[in-house]
Amino acid sequence: MARVVVDVMPKPEILDPQGQAVANALPRLGFTGIADVRQGKHFELEVDDSVDDETLAKIAEGFLSNPVVEDFVVRRLPA
């Protein structure tokens, strides 16, 4: 078994209302110096050794992310 992490983020050019709302709130809470916030999703998968990278990429692209508006990164964590 291996642990695989998939991070899904809105594409840079896509509006991210959630990240924007957080970014706008920070100065009101007294935190300055934060120029931008983007909010994404973090998935942790427990994966059988037989599952190859290609399959993981398919899962990430076709299911965990929406390729129309999101990018993703797949990482295998060391055991």
Binding site: A21, V22, A25
Partner: protein, 222 residues
């Protein structure tokens, strides 16, 4: 009798909460999120909606508004506060009520006429109900699944602080069918269903919700 209704950016049911206050015979006072001022009101309603779009978490940004600091302070002095839907979420985020509201179990927004049982009548907002009364009030939310640590739920149940419970099908997977709870002293009540949308049979499924607003009149004047 003056009851404040708070408006945050993205609050939606403020006009409706104010209407319910008026129907109950009180004066509705508009309170603005950015003003650290409760304008001397006798009670506060934190209405429903999507404050700050529910971004980050429902209620997570609104709880830091200047007006909420005043609400937290006034609650210590016994000010009656009612949080409806997003208002309930804000009160939980602000620590005035225990627990949290998560995404509905069905993962959809759910809008339906919901049967509830009034479990506790010794609060500032439910004194006018008969114990065990069954009422019909609309529920409409995306994040309405009440959850808390088991010890907290045990405490709430043990102290009789579950104020409203869903009857029939649980609309969102709430723990113990919990629809609304109160603070230990019964002055602060939060619930997911919308009593302000059940104040007459023309625009709501019943007039049952109006009783929350008339109850608080009695509790403040008493």
């Amino acid at each position: 009798m003056r009851i404040g209704v708070i408006t945050f950016p993205g609050t939606l049911d403020d006009a409706d909460a104010a209407r319910a206050v008026r129907y109950a015979g009180a004066e509705a006072v508009a309170l603005w999120h950015g003003d650290a001022d409760l304008r001397g009101v006798d009670a506060v309603v934190v209405p429903g909606g999507f404050s700050y779009g529910d971004y980050l978490r429902a209620g997570a940004i609104a709880r830091f508004a200047p007006v909420m600091g005043e609400v937290v302070r006034a609650v210590r002095g016994g000010l009656p506060v009612l949080g409806i839907c997003n208002g309930f979420q804000i009160l939980c985020e602000a620590g005035l009520l225990p627990g949290a509201l998560l995404r509905n179990a069905g993962l959809h927004f759910v809008c339906r006429d919901q049967r509830l049982r009034v479990e506790r009548t010794s609060t500032a907002w439910t004194g006018g109900f008969e114990a065990g009364a069954e009422i019909v009030v609309p529920v409409k939310n995306m994040d309405g699944r009440y959850t808390a640590e088991q010890s907290t739920v045990d405490e709430l149940e043990g102290e009789g602080r579950v104020v409203f419970r869903y009857l029939g099908a649980n609309p969102n997977g709430s723990l113990g069918d919990i629809a609304g709870i109160s603070s230990a002293d019964g002055r602060v009540v939060g619930l997911m269903p919308h009593p302000e949308h059940a104040i007459d049979e023309l625009t709501g499924p019943s007039a049952d919700g109006l009783r929350l607003f008339t109850s608080v009149l009695g509790s403040v004047l008493a």
